[in-house]
């Protein structure tokens, strides 16, 4: 059981503890950052005995706005310029945890036993998430009905050809990389911790021409063009009804898709990376249609030919994941994602 301190005491202990480490980036397995009970995957580091935390990455989870005026190198939290100079590394803005906590009116706790920095908005009870990763509650077993035509070996990718042979042979599958999946951290509340599957690519980040911070994403076929007004790292979020859990792992505003596809004049593409899991005990034939609402309350349908979220029948626990592309006016931004299914009320996920 680690002791609870006020933030000042905690920080002293925290910084002292970290001084024992080599200066530089804190390895993820050595220290973790939590905001209101949600794991934040962005890195933090210690320099000259001061712990720095990624300001924009914390914005969403702490419910604060963080704005970096690049040409002045000034950070505003909730619209108020903070004292001192932020550190900028690889396009990310870092603040001393003490500065951020004061400006954001946030509690800080150093959980030394588990090597975790716990930040929480005052009055938030979720500041101390359980350490162990929870496993989903056991559910009654589901037996898929026979026959199962795409079970192992039943559907050769190269079926018998007119040559009369099945060339469907792999001599050495040993080079298949085991589980090498790019994924975001498991930073959802424990009750929503289904496997997080994410098709987005890591971001180089960097300031945008208008002086705002560029949102994450990019470095990929999809290049971000515009920042959200606050917060650089999208914090994964999930919502569920009795049938589906929907997890949005990333949202990117991009100027084109794969360089070939451009939005109409005055528009941008917004790419929503998501997964959808059947958490019921029934096979779900139709998994519904997602649409996006912007800050002005307009609703947008996904663009099928640019998206990769193909509808499939989902067995219990089955997960579909991919991304859906929407086209929004340049000045607008995504406010929420809604799943409309048959026989269920709409499932709405706030994106801001």
């Amino acid at each position: 059981m680690s002791a609870r301190f006020g933030w000042k005491t905690a920080l002293q202990a925290f910084c002292l503890g970290l001084l024992l480490l080599a200066p530089g980036w804190c390895a993820e397995q050595e220290m973790a950052l939590y905001a209101n009970g949600v794991r934040v995957s962005a890195p933090c580091f210690v320099r000259d005995g001061i712990a720095y935390v990624p300001a924009q990455a914390l914005a969403g989870a702490l419910g604060i706005s963080v704005q970096w005026i690049a040409d002045q190198n000034v950070v505003k939290i909730n619209g108020v310029p903070i004292e001192g100079t932020p550190l900028v590394q690889d396009g990310r803005v870092f603040l001393p945890v003490e500065t951020l906590a004061r400006a954001a009116d946030t509690n800080v706790e150093w959980d030394g036993a588990n090597r975790r920095i716990l930040l929480s908005t005052r009055g938030n009870n979720a500041s101390r998430p359980p350490v162990a990763v929870s496993t989903p509650a056991p559910q009654p077993a589901y037996t898929p009905p026979p026959p199962d035509p795409y079970a192992t070996g039943a559907a050769p990718q190269r079926p018998v050809t007119a040559r009369g042979t099945d060339p469907n042979v792999v001599s050495d599958p040993s080079w298949i990389a085991p589980g090498a999946v790019p994924s975001v951290a498991q930073n959802l509340p424990p009750n929503m911790r289904t496997p997080i599957l994410d098709m987005s690519l890591p971001s180089p980040g960097g300031p945008a021409p208008n002086g705002e911070y560029v949102t994450n994403g990019g470095g990929s076929a999809m290049v971000p063009i515009q920042a959200r007004s606050s917060g650089d790292i999208f914090v994964p979020r999930a919502g569920q009804n009795s049938i589906f859990q929907v997890t949005v792992t990333n949202v990117q505003a991009v100027g084109n898709i794969k360089e070939f596809y451009k939005p109409r004049a005055g528009h941008k593409f917004v790419v929503v990376y998501l997964s959808q899991q059947n958490i019921s005990n029934e096979v779900q034939i139709y998994t519904g249609k997602f649409n996006l609402q912007d800050v002005s309350g307009n609703t947008y349908n996904g663009l099928d030919n640019l998206s990769n979220f193909w509808l499939v029948v989902l067995r219990p626990q089955g997960i579909n994941f991919g991304y859906i592309v929407f086209e929004l006016p340049l000045e607008s931004s995504a406010a929420s994602l809604t799943l409309n299914t048959v026989n269920q009320p709409p499932l709405v996920l706030p994106l801001q």
């Binding site: 040559r163 080079w175 298949i176 999946v181 790019p182």
Partner: protein, 410 residues
């Protein structure tokens, strides 16, 4: 109680009556192909008194969007609501799930009904197409609008340059055309299918036993090949590659035979050559099949079967092929005097037909459409130089395996 029953009866009677033998045929064919289908349906209705097929376009609202994604969505939604059509186009990778949720009446259950389909008739279907419609030893669907990839070329632009026969010479030829004519030697839509052409031609596969197997040295080599063509500047990768080729702005173009009729209209100097070969001859086939849906009126299902039998008959499949560029699905149709006479007049149509001896069907797993998207991205990343081809393929492998394992549920 009696009043309640009367009220219920009145409600039921007030619902729009649905003709018990009307066949609703959901499809995603637009343009030249949609018109040809409409003519086919009108012919069937004229020659089959008492039966009525209604072709209903369920593709996307806007041209240029993904028509088959819209059809897939419409089908799944209709099934969830218990209101499926009697007949629809389906890809091989959609069928396993439709079987699992008991949405289909197996096609072979109609083979002994009406005029039926004999064992000899079934043998007459082109082997690769027939086998692709077989799941657990049963014929669930039958092939309809099937096509295969070919190499289109502009005879005028190529001049005395021979169409390439291997992937090595494809690259050389593209450079040569670029050097001589100042236009891209090759134009292609940047999709997974390009990656697939090289993969299957060198003996590779996409998915085996629910594992992605398209990576490794061959996958990297294949992706590097297409990235190389992009860096040569001899090849144009663009979504509108077909339009540019049709406008005479590129020497060669890789697409399926389904575009043949449309391209011939726009480009009088159109030539068609077999897709280049790798270490072996293997070419990807494409196109959908016909499925009859259970839980629809039996009389209408029987009508749907009559339409399927008719439309896949040697005479009609040959006519369909002549009007669209799709391939006849029956051997006797391909060899019949009428179609052979047509081929003499239109030699371009014979090329795809000859490739059928080494046709390869893409994976039939429900995860395939997602994997296609993942590989589309990998190809785009590679040809645009944003990611090393090997890295892009391995990333696609990892994501695909995640899709393959997660989608299954339990």
């Amino acid at each position: 109680m009696r009043i309640l029953i009367l009220a219920l009866m009145a409600m039921l009677l007030s619902l729009p009556a649905r003709a018990q033998d009307e066949v609703h045929f959901w499809h995603a064919l637009r343009g030249t192909r949609g018109e040809a289908l409409q003519r086919l349906v009108e012919d069937f209705n004229r020659t089959h008194p008492g039966l009525k097929v209604v072709a209903e376009f369920k593709g996307a609202e806007q041209p240029g969007a993904n028509d088959y994604a819209a059809l897939n969505r419409a089908l799944l939604e209709s099934l969830a609501l218990g209101q499926p059509p009697e007949l629809a186009q389906v890809y091989e990778n959609w069928t396993p799930q439709l079987i699992e949720i008991q949405a289909l009446t197996p096609m072979e259950s109609f083979f002994d009904q009406g005029e039926g389909l004999s064992a000899g008739d079934l043998q007459d279907f082109i082997t690769v197409f027939r086998e692709a419609n077989k799941f657990n030893g049963k014929i669930w669907t039958l092939p309809f609008n099937k096509s295969i990839y070919v190499l289109y070329y502009n005879k005028k632009l190529l001049g005395d340059i021979a169409p390439p026969r291997t992937f090595e010479s494809l690259r050389e030829t593209a450079r040569l055309i670029q050097a001589r004519k100042g236009v891209p030697g090759l134009a292609a839509e940047p999709t997974v299918d390009l990656f697939g052409h090289y993969l299957v031609a060198y003996g590779g596969s996409f998915v085996v036993n629910d594992r992605a197997v398209f990576g490794g040295p061959l996958g990297e080599k294949g992706m590097t090949y297409w990235a190389g063509l992009a860096s040569d500047k001899s090849t144009l990768f663009a979504p509108d590659a077909g339009d540019r080729f049709a406008a005479g702005q590129a020497g060669m173009y890789i697409e399926t035979t389904s575009k043949l009729a449309g391209l011939e209209k726009k480009l009088p100097d159109l030539g068609v050559a077999p897709l280049p070969r790798g270490s072996e001859e293997a070419v990807q086939a494409a196109g959908t099949n016909l499925a009859i849906f259970a839980k629809t009126p039996p009389a209408a299902q029987k009508g749907a079967w009559e339409f399927v039998r008719w439309v896949t008959s040697p005479e009609i499949t040959a006519r369909w092929a002549e009007q669209t560029g799709y391939l006849p699905v029956r051997v006797s149709a391909a060899r019949g005097p009428a179609y052979q006479a047509f081929l003499k007049q239109h030699p371009n149509y014979a090329v795809g037909l000859n490739e059928l001896s080494h046709a390869v069907i893409q994976p039939r797993t429900p995860a395939w459409e997602s994997i296609r998207g993942i590989l589309d991205d990998a190809l785009a990343l590679s040809v645009s130089g944003k990611m090393a081809p090997g890295q892009a393929v391995e990333r696609a492998m990892a994501l695909s395996n995640e899709v393959l394992s997660r989608m299954q549920g339990r």
